[in-house]
Amino acid sequence: MLETRALNLHYGASHILRDVDLTAERGKVTCVLGRNGVGKTSLLRAISGLHPTSGGSLSWAGSDLTRLPPHRRAQAGIGYVPQDREIFPRLTVEENLRTGLAAANGQRRAGLDESVFELFPVLKDMLKRRGGDLSGGQQQQLAIARALTMRPGCLLLDEPTEGIQPSIIKDIAGVIAKLAESGEMAIVLVEQYFDFARELADQFYVMDRGQIVLAGAKDALDEADVRRHLTV
């Protein structure tokens, strides 16, 4: 279980996250919604450790991650698909995927898990192409596949459908659901595409101006309520 308690984050002098409490359980998809600029990405960056927090705590599977550097968090099982993909541009697709093995404990020798290619067949064709040469959507697929090779216990997805063609979005939805169902993985999904989110989510958090303004299980939330927070 991933748990943040009173998480705070600053960019310089501006206070971006204010006392964010969030819980994501294994086997569930936890969806974070909110308008542009409310701090969703910042929240994921705080969890992955890429931006230091200025207060609060974070734990995963019972152990405290608050003070750990990002690579230790990754090794502890936090996988991250960032919003702007962050592909290693001059590594080939295959090498991009291999970077995930650093965190996949015990898997380093085993090599790549072929199953990602079932989800993203285009990557299989492009193993030797450099990541930076891929089209935007291909890069997005690569970013997801790369995170999966880490075999994370907790997967953070920042708008994973952005720029991806509809048919693959459907597949991704299927995979997310499957991963969650297997009960192995906690999934935190940041999404603007409401229908997609609604279809997958077990639990919602709605953010506004750096705060959680609404939270609850899917069934417990009123869609109109949520939508209200998503409009200006």
Binding site: N36, G37, T41, S167, Y193
Partner: protein
């Protein structure tokens, strides 16, 4: 000089007026005849990288005043096509005639831009250390020459125009914020704003609503309907709801060439499109 009009004031009410005579989808390699009033005419464009053809004898015609949506699988070549139009990528073969006179494939980026081709990039690129306001000021339609730039004055008319666009993009409060500090979605809006204020004849929008909320998506659609009366637009998107909302003539690219072309409905129900793109 751009006179101030308020784009948001116009409702998206003219879907119907947009009906254009459907042209037969050009088969691969077959040249398309350019009609009168054609603003952009891509003819047999091929772009290859190490033997891989990102565009394969692509031909496309866009009329003056057209709104054209382009969809297609990831890697179909949509962004590459925009790269060719704006002079970022030189095709191996083929020409891109603009306004019937200028071959864009022979021009440098700035020349193309000065002919009136504006672009919003797939990955938002703004000038990070400059404020939102300054980003817009840079994009503001004006003489681009060296001396003109040196003499440029921000008169009240221009200021008003920037304020107006800030409003449209919902960035009014952030006008003094360095663009580097914007969130992803805010950068998207800034880019759109920069495109609008450029007052170009042909606007290329690469995935304008990626990362926007549904409401913002709708707002963008309205915006596009509004400006299409004065500009020609090519919009690339994967968000089919948005594409439907635009309701424009749609071209489907696949493997670097035109798979089919037609109204949104026709395209959506095309089994080939469903096969390669929409999924079942």
């Amino acid at each position: 000089m751009a006179e101030a009009e308020t784009p948001t004031a116009r409702a998206a009410d003219k879907l119907g007026a947009f009906a254009k005579a459907a042209k037969p989808g050009a088969a691969k390699g077959e040249p398309v005849k350019a009609a009168k009033g054609t603003l952009l005419y891509l003819d047999g464009i091929t772009v290859s990288f190490d033997g891989f053809k990102a565009l394969d004898t692509l031909s496309l015609v866009v009329e003056e005043g057209d709104l054209r949506t382009i969809i297609g699988p990831n890697g179909a070549g949509k962004t590459t096509m925009m790269d060719v139009i704006t002079g970022k990528t030189r095709p191996d073969v083929g020409t891109a005639l603009f306004d019937g006179r200028h071959d864009l494939t022979q021009l440098r980026e700035e020349a193309t831009a000065n002919l009136g081709v504006g672009r919003k990039f797939q990955k938002p690129t703004v000038f990070e250390p400059l404020s939102v306001f300054q980003n817009l000021e840079l994009a503001l339609a004006s003489e681009r020459g060296l001396l003109a730039t040196l003499r440029f004055r921000l008169d009240p008319g221009r200021r008003a125009r920037i304020d107006e666009i800030l409003d449209v993009c919902g960035l009014g409060d952030l006008r003094a914020t360095p663009a580097g500090q914007l969130s992803h979605g805010q950068k998207q809006w800034l880019e759109i704003g920069m495109l609008l204020i450029q007052d170009a004849r042909l606007l290329l929008l690469d995935e304008p609503v990626a990362g926007m909320t549904d409401e913002e998506t709708a707002k963008t659609a309205r915006l596009i309907h509004d400006i299409k009366r004065r500009h020609t637009l090519i919009v690339v998107e994967h968000d089919m709801a948005f594409v439907r909302e635009l309701g424009a003539r749609t071209t489907v690219l696949h493997q670097g060439t035109v798979l089919t072309e037609g109204s949104v409905d026709a395209v959506q129900n095309d089994p080939k499109v469903i096969e390669v793109y929409l999924g079942r």
